[in-house]
């Protein structure tokens, strides 16, 4: 199914978990924060999360800032 990650279209296996997706993206699950359709998804809720076609994800990490 197609989802949108950080503004880009991404093809995802329906059976994939969020952590699988993050690894696909090359992200360390411990070092990113996640929003799905504008909702903050805490780490504790990732395991139970089921993604749907068209979901919009934001994967965020800490960068330099003042």
């Amino acid at each position: 199914m197609k989802i949108i990650v950080n503004g880009n279209t991404h093809e995802l296996n329906r059976m994939a978990s969020l952590d699988d997706l993050l690894k696909q993206l090359g992200a360390n699950p411990e070092a990113v924060a996640l929003m799905v359709n504008d909702q903050v998804i805490p780490r504790t809720e990732r395991a139970g999360m089921v993604l749907k076609e068209g979901d919009r994800l934001e994967v965020l990490s800490f960068m330099g800032g003042g």
Partner: protein
């Protein structure tokens, strides 16, 4: 508001009164070396989209290794709702309750929005965050933010990146005089002497970013700021010498007190 030794924010104690931002550095290596040299224990970071092309830009691991308390900022948020969401994400990642509320809708001068900042701070304080709001140097706004539960106020010295120093000094003094919480000058500090001056004035701490990141030798400059903040704090405790007074006016004001003055 100053104690004799440690800076206390949100019930936590810190030795260092220099806070450092992580933006604008040429490389992560330089940034980490500068943070070490600064002795800072509180370091601000921003949330950005994870970039698979540059995974090593991620700061979380390296900073955690330094034993630093991360202060996620909400930079990028244009209103309170976005700032609150950014704070939630930041807390998720950092594991700390600290947040720097930073809402600047204008991308040029980056001045903080007082109304959105107040609203975001109010909500986040209620959610249990240790809120450090970046704000215009306004004494009334400072009390409003204190009233809604901020752990400190962070009045700007001058516009972010401008290097115009403590142009708001008189306002900051008014804020310090009536504040029941620490006052941390943030933004616009260009030189270590300005940081020292802020501490001598009574600030509890100083936050510096551009002045270190854009210095010729950021690591050297970070050390300099570290010494300057300590120097200013120590000077305040030690009591500056008297300035030479103006010449006494020819007609004395206290002659009514001479003679029989029971």
């Amino acid at each position: 508001m100053k104690t004799n030794d440690k800076l206390i924010l949100g019930g936590q104690e810190f030795e260092s009164r220099l806070l450092v931002g992580t933006g604008k550095f040429s490389s992560i290596e330089v940034m980490l070396a500068a943070i070490k040299a600064s002795g800072a224990q509180l370091v601000t970071v921003a949330l950005r989209r994870f970039n698979r092309e540059r995974p090593s830009d991620d700061l979380l691991g390296p900073l955690v290794k330094l034993g630093i308390t991360l202060v996620p900022n909400t930079s990028g948020a244009r209103n309170a709702a976005e700032a609150v969401r950014a704070a939630m994400l930041g807390r998720e990642l950092s594991g700390s309750r600290f947040v720097k509320v930073e809402i600047h809708p204008n991308p040029h001068h980056l001045m903080p929005d007082p109304i959105e900042t107040y609203e975001a701070s109010r909500q986040l304080a209620q959610e249990g965050f240790i809120v450090l709001p970046y704000m215009p140097a306004d004494p009334v706004l400072a009390k409003r933010l204190e009233d809604v539960g901020c752990a400190a106020v962070m009045p700007l010295g001058s516009a972010i990146g401008s290097g115009h120093g403590l142009s708001t000094a008189e306002m900051v003094k008014l804020i310090i005089a009536d504040s029941g919480i620490p006052v941390i000058v943030d933004a616009g500090i260009r030189s270590p002497s300005e940081a020292a001056a802020s501490m001598e004035m009574g600030c509890s701490a100083v936050l510096v970013n551009s002045a270190i990141a854009a210095a010729g030798d950021p690591v050297g400059m970070a050390s300099a700021f570290s010494w300057a903040v300590k120097a200013g704090a120590a000077a305040r405790l030690a009591g500056l010498m008297a300035q030479s007074g103006h010449a006494v006016a020819t007609s004395p004001l206290t002659s009514f007190l001479t003679g029989d003055h029971a």
